[in-house]
Symmetry: C2
Subunit: 346 residues, 2 copies
Amino acid sequence: MKNKSSSSNLLVVGSVAFDSIETPFGKVNKALGGSASYFSLAASFFARPSLVGAVGNDLTDKYRTPLQKHNIDLSGMEQVDGKTFAWGGKYSFDLNNRTTLFTKLGVFKQFKPKLSQAHKSSDYVFLGNIHPALQLEVLAQINKPKLVGLDTMNLWIETAPKLLAEVLKKIDIFIINDSEAREFSGEHNLIKAAKKIMRMMEAISPRPSPHKGREKTLIIKRGEYGLLMFQQSSKKIAASPAKALAPRNDTNGLSIFHLPGYPLEDVIDPTGAGDSFAGGFMGYLCREGSRPFPTFKHLKRACVYGSVMASFCCEQMGTERLQSLLQADIKARYGKFKKMTEFELD
Amino acid sequence: MKNKSSSSNLLVVGSVAFDSIETPFGKVNKALGGSASYFSLAASFFARPSLVGAVGNDLTDKYRTPLQKHNIDLSGMEQVDGKTFAWGGKYSFDLNNRTTLFTKLGVFKQFKPKLSQAHKSSDYVFLGNIHPALQLEVLAQINKPKLVGLDTMNLWIETAPKLLAEVLKKIDIFIINDSEAREFSGEHNLIKAAKKIMRMMEAISPRPSPHKGREKTLIIKRGEYGLLMFQQSSKKIAASPAKALAPRNDTNGLSIFHLPGYPLEDVIDPTGAGDSFAGGFMGYLCREGSRPFPTFKHLKRACVYGSVMASFCCEQMGTERLQSLLQADIKARYGKFKKMTEFELD
């Protein structure tokens, strides 16, 4: 069971879709899209992802080819009678707002994921942005995951908060947008929001961490402004007179990583950036999976790789840039990102 | 002339004001404010600033005391007949918007800065946010500054763009908000905006830099999201096949530093944060002034100190937190900031 030979061990459940996108800089019609497509393409540069989702019989080979070229395991991509999920959206001139023109769930409406034996023994699992009830169903089928990541959206926060709260207790890493974090927690300030959400995840406890080396992690994405990552710190904070003097902003007890966004001169299409982030993030952790559980240092690097993949995603329409990307591009941008953000102690 | 013995060598010209501020978390009436007050208090932790500005005869000792306690040279703070500049503002619930309730220029209306002999030989000069014509007048009086920093605002971008363009060519470091940078350049994307503004500063040239070790620097502040710093890179970029493949986002030729904001759990009052940034930034450069001109590494550290001072500024109403701050607080936050943002190469 520990050595699954050829079976891939990064599983993602999410959507494969026809995306029709219009931005001030380009337009595509019925292009390959969906959260699981972006995730898998980004993750494929680090590990071999298995994609679990449903597509209709209108999904021609043309859409499969780029996924296959990236060695993505499509055995869990169920083809059923009906139409593939389709989404249309249009962005404002500064790309900060988008209007959904249409959402046709198609075969995704009746989607009930059933995992194969190989997929049930996945080590790394990413529950893409689907109904929390489905996320729970998938999770129940995995034998003994090493690490489970989770995405969600405002729709589930508003319509299924109790189920979402249930999922949250069972996962390791929760990735959420800043606006979602604010809505979910009812707190405008992101550190206050983070603390509330971490309590829901049972990631913060008044006693020493109950997770024994398996600390739960919250990542709040801020779009072009980067991200904040939070974990309960395992270190005990020594009481000091200096601490008593600090009246506020006592983030002692929290490990925080604050990464700005990679600055791009030409953003063409931000669709899929969040899924590409998750793909790079989880892909890296899977590749480095020899350790029992990632350390905060590892999670930081995973965030940087995720951000790098998200930045590439925005450079062309849809999945185009992810399709043409080379390992050397990723490596170069990681190095540039480090150079751009590092500074020395005085 | 090189060794000015006891005279301080960091000069700031700007306003000293009565501030009346209301935020969701507090309220002050006729408190010490103004760009030069915030700048000087923040800078005083690094160097001895000389404040140049005008105040009315209604400025009682109560307002001078905190400045004097921080060893700020007030010999250039001219007291004239009339009323001290007064400003009133109110912040929205999330502190992201503020409404100016009143602006009474008072003695600042007729302010014509006349520098003393000692101030004319200042090495480090910060031209606070006043009319570009006044900024030019001050600059003309300085004998041979080592480094000149500049602030401005939308009002001057709109009403005096030509004079502002003239100042820009004569200074070393331009500090501007993201919204101002967008308005000034007519570009929404900040890298595009930066390139345009750098051309106006003559900071970018098609030939090797004409500044011979005195590179011009642009800093775009993004409020709670931190900042971007730009300089023309002195290094020649080797042509490589990898470069030819990269279709966009070619920031080669630019040195970029991207610092996120220091995350605060309790922001009480953001008034003066920008001036505190500039004070910490210029104060640090002045303290480290033994070198002929700061390197990019030095400028990075100056940005971090500036951001640290800005973050403290927001923790209490008006200048309160800057008044109670200790060197140890600054040092501790700098270290925490580094820990929070650093990551390793893979």
